[in-house]
């Protein structure tokens, strides 16, 4: 069993037990919930988060003054979301098995296991900023980066542009958190918070396609025909819609900038 590639989450749990002596049970989930709730609470109380949320009105004003348009689509109280345990475990399945090019050996950047998984999975706690226009993404990135510098926190920016039509900026903020250990006392861990910045239109599409993406992620075997040629498939419509909308958003920016030049 240990060298047979697990096909689904049930086989993965069995593999974890046989290969790494790790049992995924109700107590694993309870501990996960205890750790992640603590981190969320501490993050909400942190100077970084307080400053970021308090500054949102100021950013809105700056952008409006600069462009004549609104920056954010929603209010100024962003929510922090905790990844549900099942999605978290699925992500470790992807890292250890589905995307592991070295199978049956460990991935190049090591197995993701309970002794390191809070530091290795970088989107356990995330938030989302939804901007109206494409240039709002770059604007928000610079603001978040600037607060991170003030608080001497690491910040990595990843501009996502995937083959399957997903466009967004993901910022990963590194911060140390004190978490409860299993029996008692605490330990400090390095933890990543994910800040997603995307446009209103891309977010609408993402929500519509969420279920489709979830199903794709669980699948180990790839389709025989490339989705780009399978015009009857869900992927064809979904993925190209993502690309088209990104192009349209680029065009909107161009028109906006032309109008601005004409006024000047």
């Amino acid at each position: 069993m240990t060298n047979k590639k697990p096909k689904d989450i049930y086989e993965y749990k069995k593999w974890l037990k046989e290969k790494h002596k790790i049992e995924i049970s109700g107590k694993t989930q309870k501990y996960y919930e205890s750790v992640t709730s603590r981190i969320k609470l501490d993050l909400e109380k942190s100077d970084f988060w307080i400053q970021l949320t308090e500054n949102l009105r100021e950013y809105e004003g700056d952008y409006l003054a600069e462009t004549g348009y609104n920056l954010l689509t929603h209010g100024f109280e962003p929510e922090l979301y905790i990844k549900p345990f099942d999605s978290f475990l699925l992500k470790t399945f992807r890292k250890n098995i589905i995307d592991n090019k070295c199978w049956p050996d460990e991935p190049k950047d090591r197995w993701v296991l309970p002794n390191n998984w809070y530091s290795r999975i970088n989107d356990i706690i995330r938030t989302l900023f939804e901007v109206k226009y494409l240039d709002g993404i770059e604007f928000m990135i610079s603001k978040v980066k600037s607060i991170c510098e003030e608080h001497t926190m690491g910040c990595t920016v990843s501009l996502k542009a995937t083959e399957v039509g997903y466009y967004a900026a993901h910022l990963y903020i590194r911060k140390k958190f004190e978490i409860p250990k299993v029996p008692w006392d605490t330990e400090w861990i390095d933890f990543s918070i994910e800040i997603q910045i995307t446009t209103q239109i891309q977010e609408v599409i993402r929500k519509l396609l969420h279920k489709y993406y979830e199903d794709t992620r669980k699948r180990l075997e790839k389709e025989d025909i490339k989705w780009q040629w399978n015009y009857k498939s869900d992927e064809f419509v979904a993925n190209y819609l993502g690309h088209i909308l990104h192009y349209v958003e680029g065009m909107i920016m161009e028109i906006r900038e032309k109008q601005k030049e004409e006024i000047i």
Binding site: Y31, S37, V182, P183, W184
Partner: protein, 146 residues
């Protein structure tokens, strides 16, 4: 809320009005569902590196059920499970605790499993260990499945 519950909260350092009111609200919620049944209270806690105390989950007990309010300070997440003769396994880990009188260094961790597959986890620090001991003797040991 019962006087002994308030006494318990004070003894483990819950003295702020806001926190007491939060617990009172949850108590009333459970009382609404299980009137006259609640006989005991317990709050899981642990000590941070700087010596401060963190409270995690709030529990109420009755003869038949245990009721949890997970991460009660920030969440509204409740569940109830019957315990009467349904516990088939328990495990305790302890540190600097003689199971008689807790000291500043005492730590106690309890986990029990119910036949329905649920896990109940409790941790206690300092004087709270004495209260967890009572919970163990009153609700866990007598409810082991025969």
């Amino acid at each position: 809320m019962r006087k002994e519950f308030i006494k318990y909260l004070v003894s483990i350092g819950i003295i702020t009005k806001a926190l007491r009111e939060r617990i009172e609200t949850i108590y009333k919620f459970y009382q609404e569902i299980y009137p006259d049944e609640i006989t005991d209270i317990f709050i899981t806690d642990y000590i941070k590196e700087d010596g401060s105390r963190e409270y995690e989950n709030l529990w109420f007990f009755s003869e038949k059920n245990c009721m949890e309010a997970k991460q009660f300070i920030i969440k509204e997440d409740f569940d109830v499970t019957p315990i009467k003769k349904r516990i088939f396994y328990w495990t305790i880990q302890k540190q600097n605790y003689d199971f008689k009188k807790a000291t500043e260094k005492s730590r106690l961790h309890l986990r029990f499993e119910l036949d329905a597959g649920f896990n109940c986890v409790f941790k206690a620090a300092k004087e709270n260990c004495d209260y967890l001991k009572i919970i163990i003797l009153k609700y866990v040991v007598p409810n082991l499945k025969e």
